[in-house]
């Protein structure tokens, strides 16, 4: 069961209209290392996790990632809200516009639609947790690229928050990995 809270995890205050920036930030809405891929990766891996700590951390980080997905959607929506066509033509957002108008849709910055092949559930908790740690680092790197090409102070503020969460999640997955390894080692008798 999930409950929706009618609020953002962190406030998003976009300062300008900027379809070009929206077209790049959509990478984190529907890209390989984006928030949707992160959420589905963790929520998909929960089922066969061997320890309660790992079940909890996958459930809770998977849930927080959906709140981040909502923040990214909000940034994209606000950067393009009520945008007249004259402001879209000739920008990288034009290709999105011809298919989706001003709806937000999960594809990456290059227009490739979201796919479950962006993540895996390997049937091996050690492999899964390593994938998750790598995913958090790749998302951190994406946020750093996005921050360095952005000059909207409100967008940068929200992106800095999201980047920091990747660092915390990486730390928590590392702890979960150690707990699962110790659990597996404790079951070996020679």
């Amino acid at each position: 069961m999930w409950i929706y809270e009618k609020k953002l995890e962190y406030p998003v205050k976009v300062s300008t209209c900027n379809p070009s920036l929206a077209a790049m930030i959509i990478e984190q809405f529907g890209g390989a290392d984006g928030e949707l891929a992160a959420s589905l990766r963790y929520l998909t891996q929960r089922w066969a996790m061997p320890t309660n700590q790992a079940k909890a951390i996958l459930t809770d980080i998977g849930t927080e990632e959906l709140a981040h997905w909502e923040m990214i959607g909000t940034i994209v929506y606000q950067l393009t809200k009520d945008l007249p066509e004259s402001k879209i033509v000739g920008t990288p957002f034009e290709a999105h516009y011809v298919n989706h108008g001003l709806d937000v849709y999960p594809h990456n910055a290059a227009g490739v639609p979201f796919t479950a092949t962006y993540f895996n559930a390997k049937g091996d908790p050690i492999a899964n947790l390593h994938e998750n740690m790598a995913a958090e680092q790749k998302a951190r790197a994406t946020y750093e690229h996005l921050i360095s090409i952005s000059d909207d102070p409100g967008v940068i503020d929200a992106l800095r928050f999201l980047r920091q969460r990747e660092v915390v999640h990486f730390q928590r997955f590392g702890e979960a990995l150690r707990i699962v390894q110790e659990y597996q080692d404790s079951k070996k008798f020679f």
Partner: protein, 99 residues
């Protein structure tokens, strides 16, 4: 303490963020007593703040987690992705950094 809607929401976001972060920490450190005490204290503060907000501005959650006044308040604006910002034809558009 008198707060307007935005200030109250901001405070809720601050306290809930602390609760989320401590929650994740406790998932991998379930016997850390100080963290658990912080979690319980902030959870109580968050519940009070949300009750204060919902009394004035309507429910933050549905599906039986908060009652509604008449008429059904859940559908009322603003939704989280909305605010007053609107791009007009004569507004300059932002440009991305070009170094």
């Amino acid at each position: 303490m008198d707060m307007n809607r935005e200030q109250l929401m901001r405070r809720i976001q601050e306290v809930e963020f602390a609760v989320i972060d401590i929650n994740l920490y406790l998932d991998t450190h379930p016997t850390h007593q100080q963290a658990l005490m912080d979690y319980n204290k902030l959870t109580q503060e968050l519940m009070n703040l949300k009750m204060m907000y919902e009394r004035q501005y309507g429910p933050l959650t549905n599906f039986g987690y908060a009652p509604s006044q008449y008429p059904w308040q859940w559908i009322e604006s603003p939704w989280p992705w909305e605010d007053e910002y609107t791009c007009k034809e004569d507004m300059p558009c932002g440009f991305m950094k070009r170094n």
